[in-house]
């Protein structure tokens, strides 16, 4: 799919071609929402919202960066806006302790342990601040480089490195108190 051609087509009035973009990127967007949103978001609703906002923002796309970078930026903004709206940037305090870690006992099925660990991890990610969370999630997503993340977050590479370092440190502290 030639993305530039598709976008120009959409802007010329052929809205139906927008479905091609949605189909190509919906899994990526859903995954990013899933990783960034902690346990708080309705992933399908969020994914829809991202594509609606992308549609509105499409005339602003100037073909200077990759469409994927543009989509990631919109996804990050939409998720952060939603979380802020719901006031769900929970500050880690003793009032909201994480549940106990699932014991790695042999009699419990591996899949349950794994699913519980993932739940814990997502809760911990949800407790990071917006910037740290964005940087860390993008870093562990599709092998993003620091430059790519800086592009999405519109900041410097040094800041991205620092944010990832702190996010990782905080996450470890939360998961292994």
């Amino acid at each position: 799919m030639d993305e530039e051609e598709v976008i120009r087509d959409i802007l010329a009035g052929n809205i139906n071609r927008y479905a091609e973009i949605v189909k190509s990127y919906q899994t990526i967007v859903a995954n990013l929402c899933f990783k960034m949103g902690g346990l708080k978001l309705d992933i399908e609703e969020m994914t829809q919202q991202v594509f609606v906002e992308l549609y509105q923002a499409l005339p602003r796309f100037q073909f200077k960066s990759k469409l994927s970078t543009f989509i990631y930026r919109i996804t990050v903004n939409v998720v952060c806006k939603e979380l802020k709206h719901q006031k769900r940037f929970i500050v880690p305090t003793d009032d909201n302790p994480l549940p106990d870690r699932p014991a790695d006992e042999p009699n419990i099925e591996q899949s349950i342990i794994r699913s519980e660990q993932q739940k814990l991890l997502r809760m911990a990610i949800g407790r990071l601040n917006a910037e740290q969370r964005t940087a860390l999630v993008l870093y562990t997503y599709s092998n993003f480089s620091y430059n790519d993340i800086a592009d999405v977050m519109q900041c410097t590479t040094a800041k991205v490195e620092s944010l990832i370092f702190r996010a990782r440190k905080n996450l470890k502290k939360m998961l292994n108190p």
Binding site: L11, G13, I15, N16, Y18, A19, V22, K23, Q26, T27, A30, N31, C33, F34, K35, I43, E44, T47, Q48, F51, V52, Y55, Q56, L58, P59, R60, Q117, Q118, L121, R122, I125, L136, V137, Y139, T140, Y141, A158, E161, S162, I164, F165, R166, R168, L171, K172, L175
Partner: protein, 114 residues
């Protein structure tokens, strides 16, 4: 470890990488339905949108400037009123003082002529 050093791979990072949304997702129809009801943005409408934003910003600046002017004007009037009050009391004092001085002067003269 310095903050800018490369982050080593470990279990946590691997877990983060493995975190995936596993349910099948297809929002194409829902998105297309929503998008069809929206007006299509064109470079022209985008320009108009920008112009509207500028107009709003300019209007906000104008309102702010007017409010600032009114505040300054009010403060100045208030200060002037305060100054005139002080000056009035100074004049009163001066007047009293002059009267007293004149009284003293006449008493002295009376004494001398006596």
């Amino acid at each position: 470890m310095k903050e800018t050093e490369h982050i080593p791979e470990d279990e946590l990072m691997q877990q983060l990488r493995d975190l995936r949304y596993t349910r099948p997702i297809d929002v194409t129809d829902a998105v297309m339905e929503r998008v069809r009801t929206m007006p299509l943005l064109t470079p022209y409408s985008l320009r108009r949108q920008r112009m509207q934003r500028w107009a709003t910003a300019v209007a906000a600046c104008a309102v702010f400037a007017v409010a600032l002017n009114i505040t300054i004007l009010f403060t100045r009037t208030y200060n002037e009123a305060q100054i005139s009050d002080v000056m009035a009391s100074v004049y009163d004092y001066q007047e009293d003082y002059t009267t007293t001085a004149m009284l003293h002067e006449s008493a002295v003269l009376e004494y001398l002529y006596e």
